[in-house]
Symmetry: C2
Subunit: 325 residues, 2 copies
DNA sequence: ACGAGTCATGAAATGCATTTCAAGGGCAAG
DNA sequence: CTTGCCCTTGAAATGCATTTCATGACTCGT
């Protein structure tokens, strides 16, 4: 910058003002400086800039790719979320640092903020990382979470109404006269657990029972294998609630091996409403989440926290899309 | 850092050495300094650090979320790629800055490097941004591209053998005695165009013809609508090559409306081999790409470029997975 | 025509860590 | 017992831009 200043016959502060769009410079000087800067391919060193200013204008989005490792990514759901967040950050001219989770260590996140790497965090899918988040909130690190919304937690979470999603599925099963339900999903994940709670709620006062099959991981293949193994050793249920549409497809395949079909032999409800769910044969009944606005909400809440305010958790509505299964 | 130095009764350089893991400090001093630093929640200011050092240890991954905007994300393919890149970068302890494309402006990318924001770029899906990339290469900015590999281009690209993918589909059509093929996809995208070329290659010396349907965008819904509209005004082909598995599903749905089914009435080949393709009814024949190693290759090539070396483009094999369609 | 007030610009201080270079302490060899 | 070397540590310079605060030029009102 000193060089540019010398060449343009002005001082460093003036160059700085020009480059940061300050209104305190004459149009003539501005044009001249800009031209010199451009001619020399000069760009403000962002590290020096961030060093001087206090803000980093960068948000870390924490996403566990590891859970998809190896196998194919089954469900595009989490990426739709990521896309929404990316867009919302771009609108606010904030940089997006995509990071893998720092193993269970709240101090690591705090350090990131102290080190002026990022201003805050957006956790996409809290998984089983719960207790760490509580500690992180205590440290005063700004962050928001996509996942299960639990009013007793001290941090701001945004998520779908998983309990409602579960209840909608249960009520659908009741309407079709199903009594022996199978819940497929890892109830260690808070979101999944809440869907199970919702499903239970629907049974109150009704004669329907719920069994649970906890699958190895969230992939298509695991779900297929686990479901097939389950059917080989247990009586078949007359209704299945799967944790994702991709899982629902695996369920259909596993049941088909036993000669069982939806909706004749069992009702089936998936989750997320991914496009192939509608195209599938049979078309899969599913619970839809409002992903498209989630990104903007997450970013807005996070900015409130970064600016020192409070941000309340938000529950987004879900709705059942009834199709053939 | 000066504070920590004072409190620990050492000098700034010593603290710096401890925190950067230099072997030039006694174990005793190291432990003491570390303890003081931890006790005070001190973290090295990364902006000051990067200002002094020349490297940023950050890579920008450029991905156009806009092309997925609004609608649901049809195909998880590009995200599997992203996941692979994210993992490869994490292994090398590099930060991943996820950025939207800077509109057609090669200078904007060069500035990012000059401003010490990132060391280089990974473009995921070159789309139609071709000429800009050529200019960017001329500027000497380090970057690699996932997409069509064209040896005449001056930059390093990594991509599947799209031409082979197309030819495999064509040969499959020939084997099943199909003569009237429909290619569905936007041939403005270099990758898609090469698949079309491959398909053409397969017709040489054979009596088969290729029609092209260019869809509005890459979404499930557009493909469904465009295909339906096409079938309403054109005779039905006896073979279809779609640009993705999700598109193939849309094709099946559109043909079904006309009472046409695969494989009885037409052969169908998709692309990417996403998990639901196998589960679909009918199970979709598709071309598989080697996504899982792509991330590591892209990162490796980019690092070579950043270190001033040359990096040759790489073509990854593809294979046809024959299923019911 | 003179004091008051604008406006554009510059000098110097500041934000923080790394790195050369020099110096001090300790130890082995002569 | 001394000389020379290695090892650990510190002083000072360096990387770069922003922001007060001060200064000079110039305009406007009376």
């Amino acid at each position: 910058m000193a060089d540019i200043a010398r060449i343009a016959n002005v001082s460093k502060p003036t160059v700085s003002r020009v480059l940061s769009g300050s209104p305190l410079v004459t149009q003539a000087t501005r044009d001249h400086v800009l031209e010199v800067a451009r001619a020399h391919g000069y760009a403000v060193n962002r590290n020096a800039q961030k060093l001087r200013q206090t803000r980093t204008d960068t948000i870390s989005v924490v996403l566990d790719f590891g859970s998809h490792r190896g196998g194919r990514i089954a469900d595009p759901f989490i990426f739709e979320l990521l896309a929404g967040v990316a867009e919302a950050l771009a609108v606010r001219k904030l940089d997006l640092l995509l990071s893998p989770p720092a193993a269970q260590d709240e101090r690591a996140y705090q350090d990131q903020v102290n080190a002026r790497v990022v201003d805050g965090f957006i956790f996409l899918g809290q998984g089983e990382r719960d207790p760490m988040l509580r500690d992180l909130a205590k440290l005063g690190v700004p962050f928001v979470v996509w996942g299960a919304v639990d009013p007793t937690e001290p941090y701001c979470a945004v998520g779908s109404d998983n309990r409602l999603g579960g209840r909608l599925a249960g009520e659908y099963f009741l309407r079709s006269g199903r009594k022996d339900w199978l819940f497929i999903g890892d109830t260690n994940h808070a979101e999944i657990a809440m869907r199970h709670d919702g499903l239970s709620e629907a049974t109150h006062g009704k004669s329907a029972s719920i069994r649970v099959l906890r699958t190895g991981d969230m992939s298509y293949t695991s779900t297929l294998n686990d479901t097939a193994a389950y059917l080989a050793t247990h009586p078949a249920p007359d209704a299945v609630f799967a944790f994702s549409d991709t899982a629902a497809m695996a369920v259909i395949a596993a049941f088909k091996e036993q000669g069982l079909r939806a909706p004749e032999d069992f009702a089936l409800v998936g989750y997320n409403n991914i496009p192939p769910a509608a195209a599938f044969t049979p078309a899969i009944t599913t619970v839809e989440q409002e992903t498209h606005i989630a990104g903007a909400i997450l970013v807005e809440k996070l900015m409130q926290k970064i600016e020192g305010g409070r941000a309340a958790s938000t529950v987004l509505p879900t709705r059942l899309i009834v199709r053939e299964t």
